[in-house]
Amino acid sequence: MSEHSTSSSLKTYVAIWIALLVGTALTVYASGLDLGRFNAAVALVIATIKATLVALFFMHIKGSSEKLTKLVVISALFFLLILLGLAMSDYATRAWT
């Protein structure tokens, strides 16, 4: 690893850290606005952006040469989506009967 690439990764870490702090302030601010049904969506979108930044840059998924790591991450998210998606498609549509 060259000296140049190591110092640029330090800059990336600090930039991601600032972005995460700004995201936290933003989600607190957005929760005070009346967005109707979109309050929850905005909160979840900000949280997902923050989580993605942590995973890509702090957990080094970006730039990882290991394809198996990416496979495990995608599988975990896929099964989480099945868990939440199927359960919610049941409970969220029960009022129709």
Partner: protein
């Protein structure tokens, strides 16, 4: 293949960083990494069940959940989010320091991570204490008399608010248990780093401990808006 290469390939040379059943350091590191990620995938499902339960009850009792969420202290919750984000920075700096062979920077960042982790648990403790004082802990002494946000003439159903607090304690409690385990891991990492066991050639434990810490941070990134920020607008 020369004799020395054979010896290196089988780890017979004195290299404490390479276990004998791995061909080379990179393979050993990748095996650890894959194992750690597989463990984190099971953790996603572990917390996923709780998030699923939370979503179902939030959908059913949205007003009561909003009233219960409003009794949480957003300032303490946001402070704790910032504390964890700062600890994630110190962790990633520690990993970088280990990979570039900066021992004192590694020791310093591991120590900072420990301090931030304990600060998080301390603030969490203050919040838990307040719940006990207000009788917001689920059980026989549970009391809840708050109005539903947006309905000034309607009290929230205490039974439904109790479900919110049960989920609050289980989810933040399980997260706090993970923090305590993480602190244990980082005490060990700090001890090993102090002894100079981590080098640019061998720093996998720092990297894997870091992955675990970041994962626990990601869980909190979701817990904070879901528990503290329901229906807060005036």
């Amino acid at each position: 293949m020369s004799d020395s290469q054979v010896a290196a390939a089988h780890g017979e040379v004195n290299n404490p960083a390479l276990l004998h059943h791995f061909a080379e350091p990179q393979q050993q590191r990748d095996a650890s990494s894959l194992g750690m990620w597989a463990f984190l995938a099971t953790e996603v499902m572990f917390f996923g069940g709780l998030f699923c339960a939370y979503l179902i009850y939030r959908l059913m009792y949205f007003g009561d959940f909003g009233a219960a969420s409003k009794t949480l202290d957003v300032k303490l919750g946001a402070t704790n989010t910032a504390v964890l984000i700062c600890s994630s920075l110190t962790v990633v700096l520690a990993v970088w320091a280990a990979q570039t062979g900066r021992r004192m920077m590694l020791v310093g960042n591991l120590a900072l991570t420990l301090i931030l982790g304990m600060a998080f648990l301390g603030i969490k403790g203050v919040e838990y204490k307040e719940k006990f004082e207000k009788h917001h802990v689920p059980g026989a002494s549970f009391q809840f008399q708050e109005k539903i946000p947006g309905h000034p003439d309607q009290y929230a159903n205490p039974q439904h608010a109790q479900i919110f607090f049960a989920l609050y304690f289980v989810m933040t409690g399980l997260h706090a248990v993970h923090m305590i385990v993480g602190i244990g891991i980082f005490v060990w990492l700090l001890f090993m780093a102090w002894k100079g066991r981590f080098t640019p050639e061998y720093n996998t434990p720092v990297e894997m401990g870091g992955l675990y810490w970041h994962f626990v941070d990601v869980i909190w990134i979701y817990l904070f808006p879901l528990l503290y920020l329901i229906d807060r607008h005036p």
